[in-house]
Symmetry: C2
């Protein structure tokens, strides 16, 4: 087949003709074409009738801006992990910017240099759904290194798919964190006209420079317009749309702050917490196996059996924290088996309840099936953590406090849940 | 132990004293007390030191209203399945209204009689998380019976936990449905001052009487105030809060209509669809086993193995429809195993992708891990159905069209997804 990565090509298949830039493909059996619309299209090689090179790829020399540190500016380090925010492609050449050096970042987003002394490190180049606990540890160590060097704030560029899992993980791992650590992603890659990458990055730097915030947050669009970014709490946020730029929402919480991109004003929406006098301490993830099971009608008990070999389990129950566990007629015999299997699991490990509704609080006291779950030892009652934060917290406790999980799960360690005021379910 | 259901009692445990009405308990080892606050409290019998009866239960004779059918009014049948909306408790007696006769319904909500000729049937009395496919079939048969009798509309009272699963199921099962079938629930039981039961029921009847709508919908509060109810599409809605009265939201869709409880005006928000000339046909669920697996960081391949014995599987992927399937370093070896296991499953059964973000559309063409999933045969690309509707649709197709699942899954059979307009991910 003709053509190499970066070439402008004309491709003909049995039923289609198309033109675009040949992109790197991760599979031997297909090619990837960047269409002029900016859209990436994967085509199986066996379907391709012909590829004609229209223009050969020629690397364009990007004139890198020199990095001139200024004494009056705050120090911000960008830790890079991959994701859409980093997938900048040169339209003319089709080449992909693979590694981020500070000079490259500043060339892509020259405005950053006016705001702060920006340094940058590549931690990993991966899509965020592949992240595992060891990557949280890598990131935590990279943060510690920068904190020791005396940075004023850290930005982690990150794929958006699992950004809220990582923000929750770092919130637990980084004990006594006294600088801001902001996860920043993008829903459209930097090479598209509609990209949200630059605005999210610039707002994150503005926030670090102009606030006293410390802790882990997420910086993303507040709405679909390109005018305001939100700083969201790392432990109480979630991706709630697959493609919109304002995909991240606070859950059972308010945003911490908003940054107006046009006026560059930072407005705090939550009170700033006092800094700790202690030094930053890493409490890393260990090799633990924690499962997640969502409750649904007509589920079967057999799917729970494998978790007997795990260290912990998160149930995503319906409503206030329920599972199909009651045999009430001939059709519900399986439900009794589900109860028996949950009982077995509770005897071996901590099993926590989290809300399938995402918003709201678990309350297993209200209805009798909930009380049954409480009685057999399911924990997490009255929690208003998302299923994702519940999962991360359980795995982190199993890593660091394996003997105290049941007690500590409902302690408010990092602001992961709201105290219950009154009895809101009456 | 002293006291029987309905008695007003004084209970003393090691550390607490409380007074309330003794309620039915589903477990031998505990008692349930309805406190004066309206809150139900479960107490283990072994913790109880003493129970003193303050006032014996005496059944109060409720004067039932006589049911007088009027020729000028529309006929509405209420099919009852249980749930919070039905958990009315007489405060004075502590007795629970267990069975719904039309007279009882009208005594509880006398206003209904002014609006329509209301009939009522008990289908089951259960909490909705226990529902299985056979209950959907029971309900469909009950609907058919009423349609044959010539009712103008049907209301199904239902627990809210899985109401959106049932509404999706009935939307598929009831082919050529030419009357409105509205699922109505409550977030606070009818015996509480703040109950939403009456308003949701009355709005549902108002909607049936004053609109030409046909199809399956959900009638619940639009907001936290007691002024407006929404009619939500049965296939594109979801419970998104564990306790608020406005817990149900439309997903990737608009509400069908709103009913102002104060002015009693019905406002259509969506165009009414044309009725079918065909007769109602039931396409029931069969005994199929379908699993649901949510993607999450640090998951393990072993949890997927059990599904080899199932008929189908729904993946709840991150972002645009991704799973952790790429080995990029020493930490991600498990991801490769997950890919291999998914491949194995796809060889045996339909495996569909659905969005963990809940809102938005799956698009596995955008990033290469998504294209890998498409290439190995995962279906559901470009779907904007919730995970719950995806699950119900897959199980229903496996029940009725086992050989055509892969083709029919992406056909828009009942309005379960929106056609894609343009390329919204650019």
């Amino acid at each position: 087949m003709e053509g190499k990565v970066g070439d402008r090509v004309f491709v003909e298949t049995k039923d289609k003709k198309m033109e675009g830039i040949l992109m790197p493909s991760n599979k031997d059996d297909s090619i990837v074409l960047k269409l002029d619309s900016g859209y990436n299209l994967g085509v199986l090689k066996k379907k391709v009738k012909s590829v004609k090179v229209l223009k050969n790829f020629k690397e364009k020399k990007v004139k890198l801006k020199e990095h001139k540190p200024s004494k009056n500016k705050k120090k911000v380090c960008i830790l890079h992990t991959g994701g859409t925010i980093a997938s900048k492609v040169d339209y003319e050449t089709g080449g992909v910017v693979a590694k981020f050096k500070p000079e490259e970042i500043l060339s892509m987003f020259p405005e950053l240099e006016k705001l702060a002394n920006v340094d940058s490190k590549l931690v990993r180049n991966m899509v965020s759904e592949d992240m595992r606990f060891e990557h949280y540890n890598l990131l935590a160590k990279a943060v510690e290194k920068e904190v020791k060097k005396g940075v004023d704030g850290i930005i982690i560029t990150h794929g958006t798919d699992t950004m809220h899992y990582t923000s929750a993980a770092l919130s637990f791992v980084l004990e006594n964190l006294n600088v801001p650590v902001l996860l920043v992603g993008a829903q459209r890659s930097s090479d598209r006209g509609s990209s949200d990458a630059a605005m999210n990055l610039i707002c994150a730097v503005e926030f670090i420079v102009n606030s006293k915030f410390h802790g882990v947050g997420i910086c993303m669009h507040k709405n679909a317009d390109d005018d305001v970014c939100w700083i969201l709490p790392g432990l109480k946020s979630r991706k709630l749309h697959s493609s919109r730029r304002d995909a991240f929402k606070p859950i059972n919480a308010k945003a911490i702050a908003e940054i107006n991109y046009k006026t560059r004003s930072v407005k705090m929406l939550e009170k700033e917490k006092e800094k700790s006098n202690e030094k930053l301490k890493l409490k890393l993830f260990k090799e633990v196996k924690v499962g997640i099971v969502k409750a649904y009608p007509n589920m079967f008990a057999d799917q729970l059996k494998v978790f007997e070999k795990y260290n912990g389990l998160v149930l995503i129950g319906t409503g206030l924290g329920h599972m199909p566990i009651t045999e009430i007629d001939d059709f519900t015999k399986e439900n009794k088996k589900i109860l028996d299997q949950i009982k077995k699991l509770v005897g071996k490990m901590p099993v926590v309840m989290s809300p399938q509704t995402i918003f709201g609080r678990i309350d297993m006291n209200v209805y009798s099936p909930g009380r049954t779950l409480l009685d057999i030892g399911v924990i997490g009652n009255l929690s208003d953590m998302t299923p994702e934060t519940s999962y991360i917290k359980l795995a982190w406790l199993l890593s660091n406090y394996p003997k105290e999980v049941k007690e500590m799960y409902m302690e408010n360690l990092r602001g992961e849940f709201n105290e219950r005021i009154g009895e809101e379910f009456l």
